[in-house]
């Protein structure tokens, strides 16, 4: 049963649009799946390999702008940006990794945070290539209906899921986790930590970049403040994984469902809309204190809370 769970969920998600959802509901679903894909990509680097990145907007943005620039400067369909972003973002990650992977722990986190901001400011200032703060508008959308977009992002997310699952169960996965747990010990076990951290960063970056390229096609408009946003992209990515469960296969999906729905829910409450960041912050604090491994990671603990009615003093 557990073995087939990914396929069952994929099947359910595949037939979900066929029951005739409203355009708004489809939009929410697309966002959930896109964020799940980004969360999974972050999880590979931050969750399994232990390199906590606060700058995933950099990869998302470079992916988005790969699509955007193809259209804006070369007049090529922005859909080509999705395959091309794999190459562009991998190369970008390689360069970035050369700088930031020399650092460990909090220093790595701060360097990635700075990199995300550097990318935003740079994109704003090279207007001849990126359109500057005006951004890039895709004049003609491919589809009016959301079906096509839904299945494309579902394909991306499913591909990301199975790729990461396959990787984590292989030698690479063992090496990533070994690096997370103790870099010196990993090095002394013959693991080339620099090489494997770079692999994790490039994979994570490229997978995030594909989602970014999809975003350009789906939303039809990008500007540096949106796609390189620290709080709306980088921090939300981390929150999704933290809430759902760090280093779990399903955590990013669960986290994405909760975060996207919560954001939409709060926005509908008058006078509270702008406070959704504050509420996200409070949610994160609660999660870190009570469910440090996230909802999926601490699922056994959650089940116990609901079951635990009569016997208060259970044996440990």
């Amino acid at each position: 049963m557990k073995k087939y769970l990914p396929l069952i969920i994929l099947a359910i998600l595949s037939i979900l649009p066929l029951i005739g959802l409203s355009s708004y509901a489809m939009h929410i679903l697309i966002l959930v799946i896109m964020w799940a894909a980004i969360g999974m990509a972050w999880n590979l680097l931050g969750g399994y390999c232990g390199q906590v990145s606060f700058g995933h907007a950099a990869y998302f943005g470079v992916g988005a702008y790969t699509s955007g620039i193809l259209y804006y400067k070369l007049g090529i369909s922005p859909w080509w940006g999705m395959p091309l972003s794999i190459v562009v973002v991998s190369l970008f990650s390689l360069v970035l990794g050369f700088i930031v992977l020399r650092l460990r722990g909090p220093f790595f986190a701060l360097a990635t945070l700075a990199m995300g901001e550097v990318m935003r400011v740079t994109t704003e200032n090279i207007g001849w290539l990126t359109g500057g703060t005006l951004g890039i508008l895709i004049q003609k959308r491919t589809w009016v209906s959301k079906f096509g977009y839904y299945y494309i992002i579902l394909l991306v997310a499913a591909g990301t899921f199975f790729l990461i699952k396959k990787l984590i169960e292989s030698k690479l996965g063992y090496y990533f986790v070994a690096i997370r747990e103790d870099q010196d010990a990993a090095e002394s076990l013959g693991i080339n930590t620099t090489l494997y951290k770079t692999i994790a960063l490039c994979l994570s970056g490229a997978l995030t970049g594909i989602a970014g390229a999809f975003y350009t096609n789906y939303m039809g408009y990008i500007d540096p403040h949106v796609v390189f946003a620290l709080h709306d992209i980088s921090i939300v990515t981390i929150m999704i994984v933290m809430v759902g469960g760090v280093a779990t296969y399903w955590g990013p999906l669960v986290g994405a469902i909760i975060m996207v729905f919560l954001a939409e829910l709060i926005r509908t409450i008058p006078g509270l809309g702008a406070a959704h960041q504050t509420l996200f912050g409070i949610l994160l604090i609660v999660i870190i204190i009570f469910l440090p491994n996230g909802i999926v990671g601490d699922f056994a603990k959650i089940k116990k809370i609901f079951k635990q009615e009569a016997p208060r003093n259970e044996l440990n």
């Binding site: 030698k171 063992y174 986790v177 747990e181 010196d184 076990l189 693991i191």
Partner: protein
Amino acid sequence: MSLIEVINVSKHFGGLAAIKNVSFNINPGEILGLIGPNGAGKTTLFNVVNGFFPPTKGEIMFKGKRISHLQPHEICKLGIARTFQVVKPLQRMSVLDNVVASAFLRAKNKTEAIRIAQETLKFTGLYNDKEVISKGLPLGKRKKLEIARALATQPEVILLDESFAGLNHSELNESIEIIKKIKERGITIMIIEHHMKVIMAISDRIVVINYGEKIAEGTSQEIRNNPLVIEAYLGDAKSA
């Protein structure tokens, strides 16, 4: 020919010379004990051999090849594994996964890595704990896990950094048995140990360092009667 040659090695940290001009050889198949008072530079010497610190001066040769400029993972790949004095288990991994991660160094695929890991766990007496998350292991077993992990990389030389410290009597005897079995497999051992009885009993040769300098080298009998060693440990007879 010696397996490892340490040639005139010095290691400075800023103005502090942690190791000064130390030379010795390790012969194939032997157990070489490395002793010295606290702060003598034993672990630093390990870190230099293992590649964590490049030596400030001097060379380390392994099978006639210079290794003193290599990274730790490259040195491990050549066949020198080590354990840490302050144990470094991969905390949130099970005991088996800890060893599988290191077995991947030479295993062609996951099945083989798991097979090597299981054999190693049986060899070190940890097989019954294979599913335990290593964070929850008691110290004695963590020390054994360090040895198991080093062995799973299938080394020619193993550097053991105080693998006996903090063990109780029965654990101590088990570990001594493991070391003897490792030697029977033809693996060369270099060991740091404070437990004099143990090191005297198992070492073929002993190197003594004090304040970063080699003060003696020889069999345990020679070391026991060396006045410099006695002075390093007990102080000068005149000032006592």
